[in-house]
Amino acid sequence: MCVCPGPRRIGIPVRSSSPPLFSDAMPAPTQLFFPLIRNCELSRLYGTACYCHHRHLCCPSSYVPQSHLRYAPHPAYATFCRPKENWWQYTQGRRYVSTPQKFHLTPPQVNSILKANEYSFKVPEFDGKNVSSVLGFDSNQLPANAPIEDRRSAATCLQTRGMLLGVFDGHAGCACSQAVSERLFYYIAVSLLPHETLLEIENAVESGRALLPILQWHKHPNDYFSKEASKLYFNSLRTYWQELIDLNTGESDDIDVKEALINAFKRLDNDISLEAQVGDPNSFLNYLVLRVAFSGATACVAHVDGVNLHVANTGDSRAMLGVQEEDGSWSAVTLSNDHNAQNESELERLKLEHPKNEAKSVVKQDRLLGLLMPFRAFGDVKFKWSIDLQKRVIESGPDQLNDNEYTKFIPPNYYTPPYLTAEPEVIYHRLRPQDKFLILATDGLWETMHRQDVVRIVGEYLTGMHHQQPIAVGGYKVTLGQMHGLLTERRAKMSSVFEDQNAATHLIRHAVGNNEFGTVDHERLSKMLSLPEELARMYRDDITIIVVQFNSHVVGAYQNQEQ
């Protein structure tokens, strides 16, 4: 929610490696942190324009060092915000603060941190018959940014069948991810509604009757909705369905889910952009819509209806299917493509969408225009609007926006906007009985763990350790000592399973606490979780995970019906 300007001056390759803090004990030499600390403090210094909406909810202090590492600013930009003070002064001060401390948390403390945001939902069984192919889901998130920039959403469609689940990774603040987490599912649900239902809703609005409910949300108490913007958001949504009603050709009501998802994504991003351009007479709302538009968010959304699973992805969050093979082992099936520099076809797309002479500048240092890591996102109008439009909006905007160096900064080599789109890539998968669960997670998870490990850990967790491959000596030469070592290790693994009632929590425990042997190391977990707020982001990203469990019996029954 806070957009605190002051992007990182030095591009730190966050994704590939963390500083070797944990190779040693916690009281590491302070020098090691120099660049980091300086950055944090710089942002603190220059981030004077920290404007907070819902401060009580998400901003514990007025000065929150923001470190949206998704931006690796241009070298020219670095000079532009060089501090005037002698930075030595600064590091001296910092040194005092970061005096080597032992951050030791007890297991209950660790658990209370890990479980603070966990949420579980079980699809209720009606008359003992569970007609849903979804058993339920577990979700959780662990902040690294303060406040967290990730968001998550889950809802059941009430006027159509199916369930929607999504994770949203914000950057340059949490305004955009918050808005998308509140609004996107309505856009999708509306896109899926048949013509008659849309008419009925519109007529109800028109005549002041009670509306049909569209979504049943499944929210953690910490997942909030903006009250102030609710009316604005509703009006935009209503405009959308009115257009859908007008566009209806009356031919067929066969709604294509894939198309609906794409339309919903694009429409919402369009509305975000429009709302920022039009502005709002209410200054608070005016400022809000601008912050939403100038920050960004990726989205990875799954729509499950019976055996039909659609994953719509924009950005670099990921959807992973957990498949149990006949021998009980687990394999991972990726149901989304990352939209970043590691994706050849995305590089290709960007090059095709812009003139040849931009081929070298459109992606630099694996970032869009050398700045942005995800190649698709909501918001981020800095990568979408023309320079003119950006300047106009900023100038006519509130002072806070005008004073913000970041928003004023125009990306380099900015010739043929838009460079960024919110259009999702939709992958369809027909569920099979062996598809046991789906993991939706932001890149905070995927950059620390291999997908195969992720699926195995969740699979073993969900099925319990009984289904873990039993050890058999069978012909091998094994000594009692070797066996003992192996068993002790397995037991350690098992005990971490029993600590968690939530698959997402269990996964986070592994993501943060895994040692080189793939087992949770309490020492490491304790250190990672006790990092001071301003350092946490250096060692990990926000992690948001949703684990959806499928009902194999229902899925199997669907299959049999059709055979």
Partner: protein, 796 residues
């Protein structure tokens, strides 16, 4: 060893498969078809070719029974018997188990010489019993998958399948046992292979056993978290392909390597999974079914099948041939259980508690934690709210004592002690209240039968079954033994004559099945005698103490003075609003007071009235520990603890309860007449410990050796601290073993009185005074004036 037992028994080879396998011990030929026809009839059919079945067959043939068929569903000795770790341990918990194990040990050593003797047992493997056929409560034959066999006797030695086989009967027979997976490890030989004389090691703290196996080691154990198996009764022919579970074995492996770190380098051969069968009380199950005559059971060995095999088989064979075994086996009798212990959930939960207990310290007065609150009195919640701590007998919850508000007892784990327990003071105050004021004890668990007839059959039958004279005026209560042919106690009960043709009989809680079976067995089938189990119909409150009479008279407006209501009388009267309460002037402790038998719907009312009226007399709740202390100090022997099927009334000073000349014959009379003439060979006595420090010395519990003039003379059967005598009191039998031959000799009162006694508690001997009759002063307790305190005026 086992194969020797087999070869002694086996005469008729039923198949080439068996032949090959027995010589080569390979399973290669196991799948061959068997076409040998079963005989049409036999005297005995034994189901189960493990060590139990073969041992029973062996002993039956030794006792002269020749017409025996043994059926095995798989191959002979293919179950637990084959896969067990092969340890024969003779250090057992119960003395009857000790005797069985000792006998087994001797038997196994001599078996080798017997090999080749013709016995007459026919063995058929690959034959499974479908169900047992019965008619009029008697075994008539066996239905197998290969045809029927007519027989008089059936022996269920089906091990972990015994429960299912019992249930398959038309009238299901409850054999409460349940299997748990059991793991042990085999390794390759050590660098210097272990010698065959390497001792077996049990590390009870580490929960493991270790023995030599082909120069390497065999090590298993009894883990804290057992894995029950076959709860749903999933059957399978043989158990050789159960999965190894290394993760489950990890704690045991850890403790093995902790104890013997050098074993680390040993190479694993495999982990064997061999389910073992456990029972709800960790004792094996043997004896005749209470429901079907001729249906015998021997199963549930709690992982000690090899140790017990010989002895258990022998006792069961004796039981079948002679009608009773040569030792008292009540602790192992199938009839200690009823259908109430037959729930699969109960068994599953209970055996998970029993199995770890094998290597736990077995402290006195241990109560199981699982399978509780099954049978409860209607007052359970009321008593529980007042601090009751509970024990369980035959599924029934009984209060042990009441923890006063604000008093903290030690945690369960810490109160496990052989020394003075933490409830000492609590029980003391309850006892004191019984002696000086009045206490109420809920004794609803006692077994209660009503015997009624249209004519004189009830009296005639009871006169034949009981040793005391029951032809007493209506309203009288008679203490009497229910004796067997040998004059031993099958049951010890109190019988009230309700009217001319109706009797009310009270027996110990765990007699519910046994006594019922005994009565049924000896009642004439054609008589119009009605026997009814009314245990569940009445809540029993024991009102103990000198003020009980005040409480009762206030509640009934009836004269309760000894003139109107002498001791050992039974009257129906009203108590509070409730009418038809059966009031008996006895307390099972020798203290003054009353037993109230209350129809259950009145229980709460009567209890409330008693408590509220009793307040001014200082009434309080008390539990069984207080009762126990009171009854033992007065030399009240209890059946099941002090008395058993091998003790006669003459041996425990109860001549007065036997009316040899009542004019009617009764079971056991002949034996008692003979005993009266010849004298007794043991005598129950009460021992008061002299130099025992209650606070510092280990307490006697039961089973402590008694020394007379320095010579072993018997064992204690029960003991308690007497708060009145301020001494420990033990009950126990004095024998007279000849110094030269060890032979038992006649014990006279003189012999008992002239001895100097010591009780040996865990190796330390304490001087004790033996008494053949209770201490008289206990019955005349008048409080001395100078002992009265102000606090005695306080309400309790």
């Amino acid at each position: 060893m086992f194969y020797r037992l087999l070869s002694v028994v086996q005469r008729q080879r039923t198949s080439r498969g068996w032949q090959n396998w027995s010589s080569a011990r390979s399973s290669a030929s196991a799948a061959e078809a068997h076409s040998v026809a079963l005989p049409a009839q036999a005297q005995v059919v034994i189901c189960g070719g493990g060590i139990m079945g073969t041992s029973v067959a062996y002993h039956l043939s030794k006792l002269g029974w020749k017409d025996i068929v043994l059926l095995e569903q798989g191959r002979l000795a293919a179950g637990s018997t084959r896969f067990c770790a092969g340890i024969i341990s003779t250090a057992r918990h119960l003395s009857i188990e000790q005797k069985m194990a000792d006998y087994s040990n001797r038997l196994y050593q001599q078996l080798e010489q017997e090999t080749g003797i013709q016995t007459g047992v026919q063995i058929y493997d690959r034959t499974s019993v479908v169900h047992v056929m019965t008619k009029k409560g008697e075994v008539t034959g066996v239905e197998t998958d290969k045809g029927q066999i007519e027989c008089q006797y059936f022996v269920n030695c089906a091990g972990q399948w015994a429960y299912e086989l019992g249930l398959s009967n038309e009238e299901p027979i409850s054999i409460p046992l349940h299997a748990c997976e059991h793991f042990y490890l085999l390794t390759r030989p050590l660098e210097t292979p272990l010698q065959s004389n390497t001792p077996n090691i049990v590390d009870a703290d580490g929960r493991i056993y270790i023995r030599n196996w082909q120069g390497g080691i065999l090590s298993g154990g009894f883990e804290k978290t057992p894995k029950p198996i076959f709860t749903e009764g999933k059957n399978q022919l043989e158990i050789h392909n159960l999965q190894e579970d290394w993760d489950h074995f990890e704690p045991l492996l850890s403790s093995l390597l902790r104890r013997m770190p050098d074993l680390e380098t040993l190479e694993i051969v495999k982990l064997v999974n061999c389910p073992e069968t456990f029972t709800p009380d960790m004792r094996c199950i043997m004896g005749e079914s209470p429901l079907v005559k001729g249906y015998y059971v021997l199963a549930g060995m709690n992982s000690a099948g090899l140790s017990f095999g010989g002895g258990a088989g022998r006792y069961l064979a004796e039981w079948m041939v002679d009608g009773y075994p040569s030792e008292n086996v009540w602790e192992l009798d199938l009839k200690r259980f009823g259908a109430l212990q037959s729930s699969r959930t109960f068994l599953r939960h209970r055996v998970m508690e029993v199995m770890p207990l094998l290597y736990d310290l077995k402290v006195p007065r241990w109560d199981f934690q699982t399978g509780r609150q099954l049978r409860t009195s209607p007052l359970y919640d009321r008593l529980d709210a007042q601090g009751a701590r509970w024990m369980e007998k035959h599924g029934f919850e009984r209060p042990k004592y009441f923890v006063p508000p604000g008093k903290d007892l030690l945690a369960l784990e810490q109160s496990k002690t052989f020394y003075k327990p933490d409830w000492f003071d609590i029980v003391e105050s309850e006892v004191k209240c019984c002696k000086e004021a009045v206490c109420v004890i809920d004794m609803s668990s006692f077994t209660k039968f009503e015997i009624t007839s249209t004519g004189d059959q009830a009296l005639e039958t009871l006169q034949y079954l009981f040793s005391n004279d029951l032809d007493v005026p209506v309203g009288h209560i008679v203490h009497t033994g229910m004796l067997n042919e040998g004059g031993g106690y099958e049951n010890d009960c109190s019988i009230a004559r309700l009217n001319k043709r109706s009797f009310f009989m009270i027996s110990p809680t765990d007699q519910q099945v046994h006594c019922w079976a005994w009565l049924k067995k000896h009642m004439r089938l054609d008589s119009d005698l009605i026997l009814e189990d009314v245990t569940w119909k009445y809540t029993a409150l024991n009102l103990i103490g000198p003020r009980a009479v005040d409480v009762l008279s206030e509640l009934s407006y009836a004269p309760i003075t000894p003139d109107h209501f002498p001791s050992l009388f039974c009257k129906e009267m009203s108590v509070g609003y409730a009418n038809g309460i059966r009031v008996m002037s006895m307390t099972h402790t020798g203290e003054p007071g009353f037993m109230l038998y209350i129809p259950i719907e009145y229980a709460l009312h009567v209890y409330n009235e008693v408590m509220s009226v009793g307040q001014k007399y200082g009434i309080r709740n008390a539990g069984y520990y207080a009762l126990r202390s009171l009854r033992i100090e007065k030399f009240f022997a209890f059946w099941g603890q002090d008395l058993n099927t091998l003790t006669t009334p003459l041996e425990c000073g109860r001549e007065s309860r036997v009316k040899l000349d009542k004019g009617v014959d009764f079971i056991g009379r002949e034996a008692l007449l003979q005993q009266r003439q010849n004298g007794v060979y043991k005598r129950l006595a009460m021992f008061v410990l002299d130099d025992h420090d209650t606070d510092l010395d280990l307490w006697p519990w039961w089973g402590e050796p008694i020394y007379r003039n320095g010579l072993y003379a018997g064992k204690t059967t029960s003991s308690a601290y007497s708060y009145t005598l301020e001494r420990h009191v033990c009950l126990g039998f004095v024998h007279h073993f000849s110094e030269n031959t060890g032979e038992e000799q006649v014990v006279t009162a003189d012999f008992v009185n002239r001895g100097e006694y010591e009780i040996d508690i865990a190796g330390q001997r304490f001087q004790a005074k033996a008494r053949l009759y209770p201490v008289a002063s206990l019955y005349t307790h008048k409080r001395r004036k100078e002992d009265v305190e102000l606090s005695d005026l306080h309400g309790k």
